[in-house]
């Protein structure tokens, strides 16, 4: 039977672990709220740029449209932008995205395509390095520290644009964890190049019931050429924000579980501790009584 001193030490160590996990849970909850606010604040820009792009893309002649919109006409080389977290202790957050990416890479390679990887976040780098080191083209660590910024997203977008203009890839897809709730994050692929105009009910501006025909200054193609890289940054920024919110949610859930597990453990250890103590007292009593009887 474990001795009392050892048990006491275990209990106090589990208790301090529990204190840390519950503090981390609080921090994650606060950050999650912030992340949600940020995602909310970023929405107007993203919506408007998308709407502008939608009306521009509809009007642009197919021949003169920039390659970023229509694609290069091939799909031989795929660039995957993978958004992961910089820090661990967030449950299956990074694991699930890496699993999805790995499956996709193997699938693409089986089809004879070339795959290139651009990774955001330290955890993704660590998890993919062993298998796919030679596919890495660029790695961004601690880009979203302490919070994701548009500047950071723009850096990534710049790199993607430069690579695209140099003809280094044909299709670009972002993989990120989309925030659904604190409990669930969904791995979402989002194709950036060629740009897929979002389908669905587009709110078209109307003038007296008829559809508005915009004038463009300068020409549509020129605006489009300037707008597309901006849109790229916006989409990457959005992915980073979603991923950030997801990370905080995942960490909150993971830490909540850890806190609960620590609680269970403390309970069962306390029971063992009390039983052991009781047994020891009983033993001592028996010794005293049988000693007294022997006299």
């Amino acid at each position: 039977m474990a001795n009392l001193k050892e048990l006491k030490a275990r209990i106090s160590s589990v208790k301090s672990t529990q204190r840390i996990t519950s503090a981390m849970k609080m921090v994650a909850a606060a950050k999650l709220r912030k992340a949600q606010d940020m995602a909310e604040a970023a929405r107007p820009y993203a919506e408007r740029i998308e709407r502008m792009l939608g009306s521009l893309a509809a009007g642009a002649s197919s021949s003169g449209a920039p390659a970023m919109l229509t694609g290069t006409g091939k799909d031989d080389t795929h660039l995957l932008v993978i958004v992961t977290s910089d820090r661990g202790l967030c449950g299956g957050f990074n694991g699930s995205i890496i699993r999805a990416v790995r499956r996709r890479i193997i699938e693409l390679q089986a089809d004879g395509k070339t795959v290139k990887l651009l990774i955001i976040g330290r955890k993704g780098v660590g998890l993919l390095r062993r298998e796919f080191r030679d596919l890495f083209v660029e790695v961004y660590e601690e880009l979203a520290k302490p919070i994701p910024t548009f500047e950071g997203a723009a850096t990534v977008a710049d790199k993607v644009t430069t690579m695209f203009e140099a003809g280094e890839f044909d299709v670009c897809t972002v993989y990120y964890n989309k925030f659904v709730s604190a409990l669930t994050q969904v791995v979402t692929p989002l194709q950036l190049i060629p740009f897929a105009v979002p389908e669905g009910e587009e709110e078209q501006p109307t003038v007296g019931g008829a559809q508005a025909i915009y004038e463009f200054e300068p020409e549509e193609e020129k605006i489009l050429a300037a707008l597309l890289p901006k849109n790229l940054s916006t989409q990457i920024y959005r992915a980073m924000l979603e991923s950030f919110a997801g990370e905080q949610g995942a960490r909150m859930t993971a830490m909540d579980n850890a806190t609960r597990n620590a609680g269970d453990m403390i309970n069962s250890l306390s029971i063992t501790y009390n039983r052991t103590r009781q047994a020891q007292i009983t033993k001592e009593l028996i010794e005293i009584i049988s000693g007294a009887e022997a006299l």
Partner: protein, 137 residues
Amino acid sequence: MAEKVAFDLVSPEKLLLSEEVEMVVLPGVEGDIGVLPGHAPVITQIRMGTICVFENGQVVKRLFVDGGFAEVMPERCTVLAEQATSLEDIETSAVEQHIKDLRDELSLADSAHERAALETAIAVENGKLEAVNHPVY
């Protein structure tokens, strides 16, 4: 005029300004555009410069933007800009100091990419100074 234009200034990180105004003047790449209620729908690119907000025929607000896009509709005007600051909030000395710092960094920068980024930043800061020292309208 009783009618107003709903003017929105949006940056990627948040909605900076949203109000009803009489007129806005935008620094378009092909010349300034004055937007009054009932303007024809236009999508335009904006150069670095100052957006002026008019009320009762007077400029009431000047905002510096580092470029962007604007969508004009008869009853609203939306500007998308990455950086926007009210001219009143720009302190010349701070900007000058910033330019000096950036220049120092530029002399140390070795990659062409880094240099280009710094040069753009310096151009933006210079644009701020220009906007403060020579206000339009």
